[in-house]
């Protein structure tokens, strides 16, 4: 039971305001994709939601309570994050890394949740089973391939056992097979456990296919919100990405498929925004 919302959110880095007056809700129990062109503020929004950035104005609430007023560990029990460039310390094993995801549930002088260390072990086990990384348990994280490593990081986020999971570009640097693998895994998580998921994804087609809900951003504002079918249109693609395209239903999943039109290799060549500037 976890609704993540923002209201009148203003986020800035030093003096530069990236997002202003933004209100949104991450629908519970659904997979939400946040899309937009480079530097539109989608990562910033996610970081604001994840408690990494303190809002200059406005609030971010989880279950109606402002997340910045609650103790960090308490929020971390409900809200998990997989950031863009996670660093694994040298020589750490997979099991060790996944185990660290239990930190919000542990604590020296805090009352441990019922179950204690056994609960920790179970969560780690489940997380590794779900991500099919059990066989890698004893290996060093830095020896793994990119796809395997990403699965291990997701396992760590899973071990945190949160109701909400935020992921910042989890598929960058992965080849297509692994991209699909990761997204399938996240969908499993959502369908089986009801975890609310919000993902920043730069690949619009994959986003359209895997999303229950899409938030499209431009220049720090939300310009469209809704299901893939309603949001992903030629007009939206033109507006948000400056790209002429055709949008068709994907023959495999029925989700909108964006076919970009450039200056070559199409029977109706279009100029891109780049040229229109001249």
């Amino acid at each position: 039971m976890a609704t993540l919302q923002t209201s009148g959110l203003k986020l800035k880095y030093d003096q530069r305001t990236v997002i202003e007056g933004l209100s949104a809700e991450i629908p519970e129990g659904k997979v939400t994709m946040i899309v937009g062109a480079n530097a539109c503020g989608k990562s910033t929004l996610l970081r604001g939601l994840a408690r990494l950035l303190k809002p200059a104005a406005g609030t971010v609430t989880l279950d109606g309570r402002d997340i910045h007023r609650r103790p960090a560990r308490e929020v971390a029990r409900t809200l998990g994050l997989l950031p863009q460039h996670p660093t694994a310390p040298d020589g750490i094993t997979v099991r060790d890394l996944v185990g660290r995801g239990r930190y919000p549930h542990q604590g020296f002088f805090r009352s441990r949740p019922a179950g204690g260390p056994a609960q920790d072990e179970r969560a780690v086990q489940q997380a590794m089973a779900a991500t099919e990384t059990l066989e890698l348990a004893g290996r060093n994280v830095d020896e793994l391939s990119g796809g395997q490593r990403q699965r291990v990081w997701i396992a760590m986020a899973l071990a945190q056992e949160t109701d909400v999971l935020l992921l910042d570009e989890p598929t960058t640097y992965l080849d297509l097979t692994h991209q699909v693998e990761v997204l399938d895994l996240i969908t499993d998580l959502n369908r089986r456990r009801g975890t609310t998921v919000a993902i920043v994804l730069h690949d619009l087609n994959l986003a359209a296919r895997y999303a229950d809900h899409i938030i499209a951003m431009k220049s720090g504002q939300i310009v469209a919100e809704g299901t893939a079918r309603t949001v992903v249109t030629e007009a939206m693609v033109r507006d948000v990405f400056g790209l002429e395209s055709r949008v068709l239903p994907d023959p495999v999943s029925g989700a909108p498929l964006i076919i970009p039109l450039g200056r070559h290799h199409s029977d109706s060549p279009q100029t891109t925004t780049l040229e229109l500037v001249q």
């Binding site: 880095y13 030093d14 990562s43 970081r47 994840a50 408690r51 990494l52 103790p71 960090a72 560990r73 308490e74 929020v75 971390a76 029990r77 809200l79 998990g80 994050l81 997989l82 950031p83 863009q84 460039h85 996670p86 660093t87 694994a88 310390p89 040298d90 020589g91 750490i92 094993t93 099991r95 890394l97 660290r100 995801g101 930190y103 919000p104 542990q106 020296f108 056994a118 072990e121 179970r122 780690v124 086990q125 489940q126 089973a129 099919e132 059990l134 066989e135 348990a137 004893g138 986020a157 945190q160 935020l166």
Partner: protein, 368 residues
């Protein structure tokens, strides 16, 4: 890589057993740490009992007993052991642990195996303050220690302030950029303070200059029970702090963003760790001067030996380095150098330099 095995459902009701491959590894690690601890005990005993003046074990206990019960002392031996060898070994142990922990904390927090209080200027802060006290104000003993402590804290504060402000990157790079800034600022300030120290060395007579040089290298020659006491109290406060902070530290290792996502208050945790690490280095420097390289090498050596990053192992390794270097400095060097007892820092430095280069070479190559 997927095999058929991973698709079979896992029985989650059973308590998790570490896979067969993992268990021996863990046991080996614990065993190695125990080996380190044993080595420390052995070396401590050697420092007290052996060397240029030897004491048998029964005699040692007799001396100790006499001291505690105010009984009859053994002439000569009692004095040398109680006023000289024992306090020296105790202070050596304490500073070894303190430097070892401090270095390991910095290296872990800055995510850089080459960071350490010696390198990033904190030791030079202590040195500059102490040398100023000696040369300009003619201070001795406790006043010098106090100045050293204050100098270390002052420079650390300065460097920390510098690394915190300034242009920030975005995202998780912020923590790493601040870490680099801290290292670079420290290196620059170290260079400047070195110039100040060099200058002060020329502004005094050769005798004082020679004494200053000894202090600058880190020496256990003036170890006594007072210093051991003060240092002991400092460690009594700081070591539990390290234990408390080791939890958040392990999470901070994963990157600032991930750590924040796991509920660590990143800014507060970093500050606490820095304060603890600086406190350890400052206390140890106040007691014995800036002993070169101990903080720098203890962590990496421990890690090579235990195959895992470990704070207790770093502390133990620090003790080993100091005690063995001091043994050489106090007992072996005089045989080779006409009776001069070298300051312990010279030995750690001279032996540390090639080791350090090896570490640099192998740690750089690991990145490839």
């Amino acid at each position: 890589m997927r095999t058929a095995d991973t698709k079979t459902p896992v029985d989650l009701s059973l308590p998790v057993a570490k896979t067969p491959a993992e268990r021996p590894k863990l046991i080996a690690q614990h065993r190695r740490t125990a080996v380190l601890a044993l080595a420390v005990v052995a070396l401590f005993a050697a420092s007290v009992l052996l060397g240029s003046y030897t004491v048998t074990i029964p005699d040692f206990f007799r001396i100790l007993g006499a001291h505690l019960t105010d009984g009859e002392k053994i002439p000569g031996a009692s004095f040398i052991v109680m006023e000289h060898k024992l306090p020296r070994a105790v202070v050596g142990t304490l500073i070894g642990a303190a430097f070892g922990l401090s270095g390991a904390l910095f290296q872990t927090m800055l995510r850089n195996p080459l960071a350490s209080p010696d390198v990033i200027g904190i030791s030079y802060g202590a040195s500059a303050a102490a040398v100023t006290a000696i040369v300009v104000f003619g201070a001795t003993g406790a006043a010098v220690s106090g100045a050293a402590f204050a100098g270390a804290l002052g420079v650390a504060t300065l460097i920390y302030a510098i690394s915190r402000s300034g242009s920030l990157g975005s995202g998780g790079q912020r923590g790493d950029a601040a870490g680099s800034r801290l290292i670079l600022a420290g290196v620059g300030i170290a260079a400047a303070l070195h110039a100040v120290v060099s200058f002060l060395l020329t502004r005094t007579d050769i005798r004082t200059a020679a004494d200053v040089l000894i202090w600058l290298n880190g020496s256990l020659n003036s170890a006594n029970w007072d210093r051991a006491g003060v240092l002991g109290i400092a460690l009594l406060v700081l070591v539990p702090a390290v234990a408390l902070l080791s939890g958040p530290l392990r999470i901070l290792e994963l990157g600032d963003d991930t750590a924040a996502g796991l509920g660590v208050r990143v800014g507060a945790a970093r500050l606490a760790i820095v304060i603890t690490a600086v406190g350890l280095a400052a206390a140890a420097t106040a007691a014995a001067g800036p002993v070169a390289f101990v903080a720098f090498l203890a962590g990496p050596i421990a890690r090579r030996f235990i195959r895992k990053a470990s704070l207790p192992a770093a502390a133990l390794t620090g003790v080993l380095i100091v005690l063995s270097a001091d043994y050489v400095a106090a007992n072996v060097a005089p045989l080779l150098l006409d009776g001069t007892v070298l300051p312990v820092g010279v030995i750690t430095g001279a032996l540390g330099a090639p080791f350090l280069l090896w570490l640099l070479v192998t740690s750089n190559r690991k990145d490839a």
